[in-house]
């Protein structure tokens, strides 16, 4: 594009490209650090276009290059484009990518990377940089929100605005009318005297238009779709059983498989005996899965499940902690200088104040266990290797890595691989992992020409996760009047980043700030304040779990703050307000207090608990009301207030908050993965349950927009749920619970 050379201050430039019968609008990346295979077939000087809008004779398609895993990204991001394009998002097709066109699809995949495109060797460097901004890193990966919302917020609107501009110019040329006499509305260009031309009619002409480089975005006052509830484009499909998840992929002549992998995670399969399985009904093949297990291929998933139970294995052991007690002992043992990972906050002189306070110092220790992701849809993927090409159908949060891994395992070059991203039946971080994709490709490679769907049993899924890390937190606090004069925070936990990156073949020096996430970076201003992270050496695989380090650290910190308030005889909300100056954070807390009518007369056996946690840049306050019944604790109400900067879709944000609260409550009430003989003991929902309808409270939400910039909201609602519940239980019963899950200490209705 002629504009390409002019723009140097931006990392991207909007462009368009003619394709057979239509036009693409999107973002050109420039200054690509590596030769881009997508550039084949593009004109000299152009770089690949990441398309967001496709207009051809059949209509308008908006491409959302982020995985839809429940967070509504397919709708909210499409609405950004549609807003500027002046078309109702309900009247367009929304796609994750267009698999039939390799150039097109690969460009979309590029965009799926959680960071700017880099070559693989630069990966470590980049990841190292991200270590200090994990909120950004994980925000992009896990929710498609946080920093990527900021990014998409501009980029996708620009793509829509640019397309609209091109269509206006095309109409102007076609009708020979000045552009400023034309306007657009719902998919049409309209002349002064009411003549209407649809975008589809103008598409091919628009493709040849020289684009101006001064396209302007609509002011907020003119938004019709952004800032309003937009019905989700995936809703009808998902309510009629017609949405295709990975597990629903159908191919002609497809076989069905399952896997059995060493439950000592990461250790080898020494040997196996399949005599009793191989002749079972429906079984087609029993194939080795590298050196870690086997796949059973059959004519029906159930035959594969059945046969897999009849195989005898000799599993190698791991050398990491073999029991839950040993895990926690390893966390305790890591509270040493040698294991110190970071000290990201060190204000004032904590030692001095603790020394002066002596016996008045409050010492507390808290714990959180391993957790499984337990997405509703068990891990699965479908793959077909044929004529030197590979197709993989999978719900993944990391399409680009899926492509690299598929290539590595199959030996097929990336340009001959197509990754078809389906809906995800839940992600929560689990589908950042590559294991389920790798296994499907391993099977496809051994059964060339046959498509195979590999579905894990729930048992395999739950016992072969990468878990939310266990953690132990130690606090020493000193109160002064009705405030806090010193707080020393020590947290010991394995590193999510180290574990996760090691599975991608990358090792990263430097500290992992997810260990201290939601501890060092809170809004509290305490004169003497220190936060030290300790890293437990790598053992059982751990990974990102909705809200990452904040999922346990929010509980630790906000329980401790509550204990300090009680010790100081201070109101928990007043005391917090006394420690916070950041106005948007104060607002969320004050708003929640108002909603819950904090300070009212509390009926007997009822209790109110509050928590305030900032994660991924979003301050969230939650107040929970419980009642202590003869059958146990019942959670009645949750009041949740979050500041997202700009709310793209309030109805969807409400859904995300409700979801995040229930996710956090489930973990707090009953979530626990334990280890025995090196293996995970929980195998299915009977032993690893989650919150259900009869336990689900009424959740009152309020969204504020005072924050500095737009933020993603998939995760920040989770961390305050556990501490608000613990604090409410204390208020109702006088029982202080310092360990998750709470049902080890108290019963729930």
């Amino acid at each position: 594009m002629s504009t390409l050379g002019k723009i140097t201050r931006r990392a991207f430039v909007i462009g368009s490209a003619a394709i057979a019968g239509g036009v693409l609008f999107g973002v050109y990346k420039y200054k690509q650090p590596y030769p881009n295979p997508l550039e084949k077939g593009l004109a000299q000087g152009d770089t690949a276009l990441t398309p967001y809008v496709l207009i051809n004779a059949t209509g308008v398609t908006i491409i959302v290059p982020r995985a839809e895993m429940g967070q509504g990204v397919k709708t909210t991001l499409a609405a950004l484009v549609a807003e500027e394009l002046d078309i109702d998002v309900q009247n367009v097709k929304v796609e994750h990518g267009v698999p039939s066109n390799a150039y097109f699809n690969a460009a979309v995949l590029e965009e799926g990377v959680p960071f700017p495109p880099q070559d693989d060797s630069a990966m470590a460097n980049m990841a190292r940089n991200f270590m200090h901004v994990p909120a950004k890193f994980f925000g992009v990966q896990v929710t498609g929100g946080s920093s990527s919302t900021v990014d998409a917020f501009e980029k996708m609107r620009m793509a829509g605005a640019t397309a609209r501009e091109a269509l206006l110019l095309a109409a102007s040329a076609k009708l020979n009318l000045p552009k400023n006499t034309l306007r657009t509305d719902n998919g049409e260009v309209i002349t002064k005297d009411g003549q209407r031309i649809s975008y589809t009619e103008l598409a091919s002409l628009a493709a040849s238009i020289e684009l101006p480089d001064d396209v302007k975005l609509k002011p907020r006052s003119q938004w019709k779709q952004i800032g309003r509830p937009v019905p989700r484009v995936d809703m009808v499909e998902k309510c009629t059983g017609t949405a295709t998840f990975g597990i629903d992929v159908l191919q002609n002549e497809m076989l069905y498989a399952t896997v059995k992998v060493n439950p000592n995670l990461g250790a080898k399969c020494n040997s196996y005996k399949a005599n009793n399985a191989v002749n079972m009904k429906g079984v087609k093949a029993i194939l080795p899965l590298g050196d870690i297990g086997v796949a059973v291929v059959a004519t029906n998933t159930w035959y594969a499940f059945k046969a897999s139970e009849k195989i005898e294995f000799d599993w190698a052991k791991t050398d990491y902690a073999q029991t839950t007690d040993a895990l926690f002992a390893s966390a305790i043992a890591a509270f040493t200088d040698e294991h110190q990972d970071s000290q990201m906050r060190s204000d004032g002189d904590v030692e001095a104040i603790l020394g002066q306070a002596g016996d008045a110092t409050i010492h507390r220790e808290y714990r959180a266990p391993l957790l499984a992701h337990a997405t509703m849809e068990p891990m699965n993927a479908t793959a077909l290797m044929k004529n030197g090409e590979l197709d993989v159908w999978v719900g993944t949060q990391m399409a680009t890595y899926a492509l690299s891994e598929a290539s590595r395992v199959s030996g097929i070059a990336k340009e001959n691989i197509r990754i078809h991203t389906t809906y995800l039946g839940g992600g929560f971080g689990r589908r950042l992992e590559m294991d389920f994709i790798i296994y499907a490709v391993m099977v496809a490679k051994q059964l060339e020409g046959t498509p195979v769907k590999v579905t894990w049993t729930r048992e395999e899924d739950m016992t072969h996760d990468s878990y939310r890390p266990f953690a132990v937190a130690r606090f020493e606090g000193v109160t002064d009047g009705d405030s806090v004069s010193a707080l020393d925070v020590k947290i010991s936990s394995p590193s999510v980043m180290e574990s996760q990156m090691s599975r991608l073949g990358v090792s990263i020096p430097g500290p992992d700030s997810t260990i201290v996430q939601a501890l060092w970076d809170q809004a509290y201003i305490i004169e003497n304040y220190r936060v030290t992270g300790y890293r437990v050496p790598m053992g059982i695989p751990v990974s990102s779990w909705r809200s990452v380090g904040a999922s346990q650290n929010g509980f630790f910190n906000e329980s401790m703050i509550d204990e300090l308030a009680i010790k100081a005889n201070a109101d928990p909300i007043e005391m917090r307000l006394g420690l916070v100056t950041h106005q948007p954070t104060r607002n969320v807390l004050q708003t929640a207090a108002k909603m819950a009518n904090w300070g009212r007369e509390i009926p007997p056996k009822h209790g109110l608990g509050v928590a305030l946690v900032t994660s991924f840049g979003v301050p969230v306050a939650e107040i929970i009301e419980v009642v202590n019944t003869p059958r146990g604790i019942k959670i009645l109400n949750v009041y949740v207030v979050a500041d997202v900067g700009i709310a793209i879709d309030p109805l969807n944000i409400e859904a995300q908050l409700i979801s995040a609260v229930n996710f956090g409550l489930a973990a707090a009430m009953m979530g626990e993965i334990t280890l025995l003989n090196g293996k995970v003991q929980q195998t299915n929902f009977h032993s690893y349950d989650a919150i259900r309808m009869h336990q689900s409270p009424v959740i009152h939400t309020k969204i504020l927009e005072n924050g500095e910039r737009i933020r993603g909201i998939g995760e920040p609602g989770t961390p305050p749920a556990a501490p608000a519940l613990a604090n409410a239980i204390f208020a109702a019963t006088g029982m202080r619970i310092r360990e998750m899950p709470f049902n080890k200490h108290i019963q729930f209705v």
Partner: protein
């Protein structure tokens, strides 16, 4: 053996012990009912057998006698069942994986009790897990669907 699903009769040749779910999904390509646990703990696989809600993952196909209805047979995108319409109205689904099962449980509940109170909803719906935690909207949608059914019957 013969199996009637959504009004169509199918000839299936499988092990009697095979759970109905896997006959539907892998033999008949009816993928609306989902696999979540395989042990009747999550409800993702809920279908109706003669109008009664059933966890298809735990019922051997050999024991199925009667008409099977799946989410696809309840209503279609162009002609949604009143429960599906209420689900869309309340924008219930997030990842959506549990929702076919949730909707089938709700439809069966409302068939028997068109005016369920919160406790009746709790009882009927607690067998259905939703990891996305969409329960408040499920509850609201059940109530809307109930009201619409009552109005239609009035």
């Amino acid at each position: 053996m013969q199996l009637n699903v959504n009004g169509t009769s199918h000839d299936v040749d499988v092990d009697d012990e095979m759970p109905l779910l896997w006959v539907l999904r892998d033999e008949l390509n009816i993928t609306g009912p989902k696999f979540g646990c395989g042990i009747a703990m999550c409800g993702a696989c809920t279908v109706h057998i003669n109008g009664q809600p059933a966890r298809s993952c735990s019922i051997p196909v050999g024991q199925v006698s009667g008409l099977v209805t799946t989410i696809e047979g309840l209503g279609t995108p162009d002609a949604m069942h009143v429960v599906q319409a209420a689900w869309v109205e309340h924008q219930v689904a997030q990842c959506g994986y549990c929702q076919p099962g949730q909707i089938m449980s709700a439809a069966a509940l409302l068939q028997m009790n068109p005016n369920p109170d919160d406790e009746a909803i709790d009882r009927a719906m607690s067998a259905n897990l939703c990891r996305c935690g969409t329960y408040p909207r499920i509850r609201a949608a059940v109530k809307t669907a109930a009201q619409n059914i009552r109005e239609k019957n009035a």
